[in-house]
Symmetry: C2
Subunit: 199 residues, 2 copies
């Protein structure tokens, strides 16, 4: 495979220790506006030579659980290209690594649903797929909502629907909502509620 030499700022031609690995060389294997794949020549933990391909994301994945006064959750439906399948999810998007991810969350919520929220709270942060990607995700709870007009960008064809919190949890338990960035914060909120009732 033909590999491009990486730009100096991401090169790391100097030998680098990564936990029990040693990285000898880093090439750019692929690049587009959303991600870069680094192809690293390494010495593995067992001392053998090997390679490590890291999918580096330019954006943090941000998700927003927007809940209205009737305890309904804002869901968006869209055809996901990578799976060639229609998915219902919370509003999500990419927030550039150098951006405050809360600002990214506000923008994505507005673009996809037209909603603005008066109250924001971080629900959690996770790594989505840490074996070969460095994608980080964060989800926020948005409440005190006002409805405006959605502003989807050219790559998105979205439906927007309100669904009661408990129905969303039933769809998750039933395996009908399967997007990790939707399931992670919804489960976290449901557990908070369960603990609150137990106290």
């Amino acid at each position: 495979m033909k590999l491009r030499r990486s730009s100096p700022e991401e090169a790391g031609w100097a030998e680098t220790t990564v936990g029990p690995w040693t990285r000898h060389r880093r090439h750019v294997g692929y690049r587009n506006p959303w991600l870069t794949v680094w192809h690293d020549e390494v010495t593995r933990p067992d001392g053998e030579p090997g390679i490590y391909g890291v999918v580096h994301f330019r954006n943090t994945a941000v998700g927003v659980v927007a809940i209205d006064d009737e305890d309904r959750v804002a869901l968006v439906g869209q055809h996901r290209y990578a799976f060639d399948r229609y998915h219902w999810e919370i509003p999500e998007g990419g927030s550039p690594l150098e951006e405050d991810s809360l600002e990214g969350a506000k923008r994505e919520l507005l673009e996809e649903t037209g909603l603005r929220a008066g109250t924001w709270r971080e629900i959690g942060r996770w790594e989505l797929s840490n074996s070969v990607t460095d994608e980080a995700a964060v989800a926020y709870l948005a409440t005190d909502l006002r409805q405006g007009r959605a502003q989807p960008d050219g790559e998105e064809v979205l439906e927007f629907r309100w669904l009661p919190f408990d129905e969303v949890m039933a769809l998750i338990a039933g395996g009908e909502i399967t997007d990790a960035l939707t399931v992670l914060p919804m489960q976290a909120l449901a557990l908070e509620r369960a603990r609150g009732q137990a106290d």
Copy 2:
């Protein structure tokens, strides 16, 4: 960027409809033994020309929540290369797409912890990062455990530790365990328990 022409079986040089997109051409942008990046020339939902880079995984991500008779969960600690950080997680690994993922789960549990389980149950299936990857994940609950000897492969340096279920949930709530494939099934099990107590 220099792009290789894809092999016939993955080519799709014929125009293909993917929901509201049209795919015109597919090249292989990068490939290693674990993943392939497809670089697709598309017409976007708004009719404009664009590209879509899909990170195609050769493996399903499998995770195992192994719980012993004292309600302790088997955790493994390892340095994750992509984040250059130490993570505690449930035993996880890749199961080739053509393999029964339960077989993959049994193998990964044995390799990483030396455990064999008498009882297996699927907890759930999710897509980890559906904007640009097609990685699917499945997690199983493993109980009725017998301890044997761990058999890590050369790319893994692992610690193995038992932690009470509630302590694992506290580490998740506190943001100290952040791996999605660990958090998703643990939260699902905690919700099952909370529902059981409420009944």
